[in-house]
Amino acid sequence: MNMNFLDFERPIAELEAKIEELRHVGNDSEVNLSEEISAMQAKSGKLTEEIFSKLTAWQVSQLARHPQRPYTLDYIERILTDFEELHGDRHFADDPALVGGIGRLDGRPVMVLGQQKGRDTKEKIRRNFGMPRPEGYRKALRLMEMAERFKMPILTFIDTPGAYPGIDAEERNQSEAIAKNLEVMARLKTPIICTVIGEGGSGGALAIGVGDRTLMLQHSTYSVISPEGCATILWKSAERASDAAEAMGITAERLKELGLIDAVIPEPLGGAHRDMDAVAESLKNTLIDNLNSLDELSGEQLLSTRYDRLMSVGNFKES
């Protein structure tokens, strides 16, 4: 299996290559290597554990962008039943970088939305690398308002380097598209649960990120600007991205400590891409639990709690 190892996983990759080699030899000859193989597999597991127990913020951001990381549609397929994708903003276009639709979570109708990246080159281009244009955010807005009308909870999956910085996007007012969603999401009379599944890149992420719960997968990131962008501006060099990642505190663990998110959803050892079904299962269970607890609130309570949470974010002093 091609695991697409990252740079910092090289020792694991080397060990796995050896295991593969032994398997090959084992298949061809009479010699039984199974004991040796299982010993090496144990060693590989231990090594992975060791490396993953002390990931830096920059390493986490590479995992969040891992080419094999599960994307929104991978989760939708595993978590929801009876899913129907819905298209278009009704004004200009359908944006494949942001997908949405209706389906059932544990039998209950829900609206689901998320940025979508592509797996191969053709698909990456079609999905614009997960960078929505204004029509993507306006489709999201349309679907969220529909969810309110039909009393469906909204689940959003955040996975974007950021909103698309292009000439056409500016012409159609990317800023307004994002801003409108922030305003409307703050007051929608239906539960909203936002989960960062990969990259939570700036305003383009927040535009589907205002709600009653903010969850993050263990190796996802959420930040005001990409580490490279921050490094370019503050350190005058993109090479300092790892320092910028550390300084901004972009990991789920750090953001939980800071009280900016509600919960961290654990990933399988080695990252979500090592076992998509397992991570989808725990995401599903977390979503169900959170929806159940939000159900206990009245419509009024839901809105006032959401509003108070938004108002309480910030650090300042008054003399």
Partner: protein, 283 residues
């Protein structure tokens, strides 16, 4: 030049100097037409070049003092200050940057808020100070905006915000991103109540500020030729690998594409906004 310089007595020579541009003091230059301008006159024209009409930046305080009636102006939350919750350090500590900008600008952070009247109409107004860390939005900007909006809500009086900002403040990381949600949420309440919010975008209004409250005005207004947009022109150029069209992301471009209600000359802002607000509040 050098032979002439050598002929000159040393006293004169030092005064002529090798400095580029105009010496500090009573003279300055227009950043667009390069014309030499007399500072007191420029201040009287609210930093609009009398020769070419270019709108140069105003400090937040000068902005509100020029916009609101002179009588009965009252600053809101003047003592709110930033704190470095993340112990953020790049080439410099955020804490030191705060001190540095507080000294150079004389302000505690990048936003000033005041209550007052506009041609007799009670209003609340906030203005960014671009000279404080590029007018970046951190927790103080978010909180001040929100409190000013609450004054507007409680008294049901119009709220006018003048933006001049590069966007979110990186040194406050995700806390600054969340100010976008916070400020937009309070505007949702203002809209529900039917209290007018006017967003005046001045040069520049970018990133997290334009992608939150600045684009959420009942009226979206801009000064002429202000740079307004989500992504910075350099980022866009690098992404699309194309030369940007002439006038891209300027006020006139936004007006043409439907993002603005109107472009108003700085000298007419008081009259025209007073008129519009009087109409909106049916007074």
């Amino acid at each position: 030049m050098s032979w002439l310089k050598n002929l000159m007595p040393s006293k004169i020579r030092t005064e002529s100097g090798d400095k580029k541009g105009v010496p500090e003091g009573v003279w300055t230059k227009c950043s667009a037409c390069d014309d030499v301008l007399y500072r007191p006159e420029l201040a009287r024209s609210l930093n609009v070049c009398p020769k070419c009409n270019h709108h140069m930046r105003l400090t937040g305080r000068a902005r509100l003092e020029a916009f609101l009636d002179e009588e009965g102006r009252e600053e809101i939350d003047a003592n709110m200050e930033p704190v470095d919750a993340l112990k953020f350090k790049d080439s410099k500590k955020y804490k030191d940057r705060i001190n540095q900008y507080q000294k150079s600008s004389g302000e505690k952070d990048a936003m000033i808020a005041m209550r007052g009247t506009l041609k007799g109409l009670p209003i609340v107004s906030t203005a960014f100070d671009f000279s404080f860390m590029g007018g970046s939005m951190g927790s103080v900007v978010g909180e001040k905006f929100t409190r000013a909006a609450n004054v507007a809500l409680e008294n049901n009086i119009p709220f006018v915000c003048f933006s001049a900002s590069g966007g979110a403040r990186m040194q406050e990381a995700l806390f600054s991103l969340m100010q976008m949600a916070k400020t937009s949420a309070v505007l949702a309440k203002i809209r529900e109540q039917g209290t007018p919010f006017v967003s005046v975008m001045t040069d520049p209004t970018m990133g997290g500020v334009s992608a939150s409250f600045a684009m959420l005005g009942d009226l979206n207004v801009a000064e002429p030729k202000a740079l307004i947009g989500f992504a910075g022109p350099r980022v866009i150029e690098q992404t699309v690998r194309q030369t940007l069209p002439e006038g891209f992301q300027r006020s006139e471009f936004l007006l043409e594409h439907g993002g603005l209600d109107m472009i108003i000359h700085r000298h007419e802002l008081r009259d025209r906004l007073a008129n519009a607000l009087t109409l909106l509040t049916n007074r």
